[in-house]
Symmetry: C2
Subunit: 321 residues, 2 copies
């Protein structure tokens, strides 16, 4: 099967049609019509087998996750998703694998109305590179540089479950500390992260900065601090964790692991104190769980406190090299 | 060195700044301001070491070619280049390699005023995926579906030299048939193809269809024919070839090789007979060499003729699988 047949068969089987896609897959370029009153938000991420997803991951989960981690960047900017380009490198032209990959990809693309507008398939070790474009009002973008001393620091959802999911897949012996349901929940957090548009959309009306937690809470928060030229005091014991994680650590979480494990794709964001009550109220009305875990400081270091005692943590997340 | 340091060091060392890039590399997304009166043209291509460039290719040439083949898609659509996202997969964080890669990339980016707006570096076998965006007037886009029976078929420049360059690099014994200057010319055609914006820009005012020759003239022309639901009669002996190619084949070109060899990145395009004289005049005024090599037919097959004799050629180009 030739490259062209592959593209025609599988890339064209995506199901989202948008009126702003004037010419889709099949020519030298796609032609797109951006909205008059918005700017574009664009992000690119590569996922490599064995690095960004387990080698044992199903084609459907890889398709889902590849799109999810890219959309997550749009959510962290407060952007509305629109278009996606997809480049896949595959060891062989495996029809069944591609069909399942596109099926997982489509499931998420349909949920957020994202149209596939370009693609390339090449022969090589399994990897996926995705480029997403969304629409944003630049005055309301959740830039990393928006944090100010005194702002509260929040996270959405629970932190650390994706890492437990990875432990499970890598055959960690859970010694019956987790129920099958909890194991399945953690593996789903790893393989099918949810881009937090629910939170990003609401945050746009506040003076917020945001980042998605891909490399670990501490590493990602440090990007906000660096871009805003500020520091942070983090109350470790306020970091929200699931019952599954508490069970795994027998109620004494390994905070270093929770702080440095990536792949949760929750949002870490800041909000001025004066707007925090209103922000939390609106999040609650929209069923988005957020937790206050610290405060931005003037000093440019990140201080971690456990029960008000200062701790030393290496300020690093997942290091790709 | 961490992923972030790599991105900061090398991706930020690109030198093209554009007023329509409101927020560049360093946040979750770039923020871009599209022009009011244009649509967007978008294309994605992956280049894999040993497939799309020789394993021996220099980092500078890889940087140049990766951008060139993507910009070539914009040229083939009649679009004006603007923004580029770059995802590199590297076996190791090699500073010297990255510096040279970005140097080759910048050389071309500066030539066409393309701003790097996003990047991702991952550890893995060497590959480059690029996403380019340009501006286009959709009424003037050089769509593959624009060809009509009776249109003349043209190509820019000479065909087949990039393939000779590959032969040279793979240690083909040229038996002194080519001068060192000719060998160097052919290798440059392979490693540093020129996106034909000079031709694409002029073609916009005509009822033209166009494609860039990446997979071979016959394969790429067949994409125009398929999209336009037409066929073609190709006069093989009218295909423009260089003195280097004539020397290599001792004045008897291997036309099958010329028709199926890819990587020239010249444009193959169609133009109505009634507009061809004017088009050729304008091309000449702009120092763009174009050659008429055949005519679009109603019948949906591609017929190849040599000295008015019909030939049989397998209608295929480079097959990635």
């Amino acid at each position: 099967m030739s490259e062209f047949d592959l593209i025609n068969h599988f890339f064209k089987s995506t199901t989202v049609n948008r009126a702003d896609v004037l010419l889709g897959i099949g020519d030298d370029c796609a032609i797109l019509s951006p909205p008059d009153n918005k700017k574009l938000a664009v992000s690119t991420d590569t996922l490599i087998s064995g690095v960004h997803f387990p080698e044992s991951a199903s084609a459907e989960d890889i398709g889902y996750k590849s799109l999810a981690v890219n959309l997550s960047d749009l959510a962290a900017m407060g952007a509305e998703p629109a278009w996606v380009s997809l480049a896949i490198s595959l060891p062989e032209a495996n029809k069944v694998w591609l069909k399942n990959f596109i099926s997982g990809f489509n499931e998420l693309a349909e949920k957020f109305n994202v149209a596939l507008i370009g693609g390339d398939t090449t022969q090589g070790p399994l990897s996926v590179t995705i480029n997403v474009t969304g629409f944003v009002d630049p005055d309301k973008a959740l830039k990393r540089s928006n944090a100010s001393p005194g702002d509260f620091i929040f996270v959405t959802g629970d932190i650390g479950d994706a890492h437990l999911g990875l432990k499970s897949i890598l055959n960690d012996n859970f010694n019956n500390r987790l129920t099958n349901q909890q194991i399945s929940y953690c593996e789903k957090k790893l393989n099918r992260p949810q881009p937090r548009f629910d939170a990003g959309n609401q945050l746009k009306t506040f003076s917020a900065s945001a980042i998605d937690i891909s490399d670990g809470l501490l590493a990602d928060l440090s990007h906000i601090c660096k871009a805003s030229n500020v520091g942070a005091v983090l109350n470790i014991d306020k970091i929200p964790v699931s019952d599954a994680l508490l069970n795994y650590y027998q109620d004494k979480p390994d905070w270093h692991s929770v702080l440095t494990a990536g792949d949760d794709y929750e949002l870490c964001f800041t909000c001025p104190k004066s707007q925090s009550f209103e922000m939390q109220k609106i999040m609650k009305e929209n069923n988005v769980t957020v937790s206050c875990i610290g405060e931005i400081s003037e000093n440019t270091e990140i201080i971690c406190k456990l029960n008000n005692q200062k701790l030393d943590f290496e300020q690093t997340g997942y290091n790709h090299f």
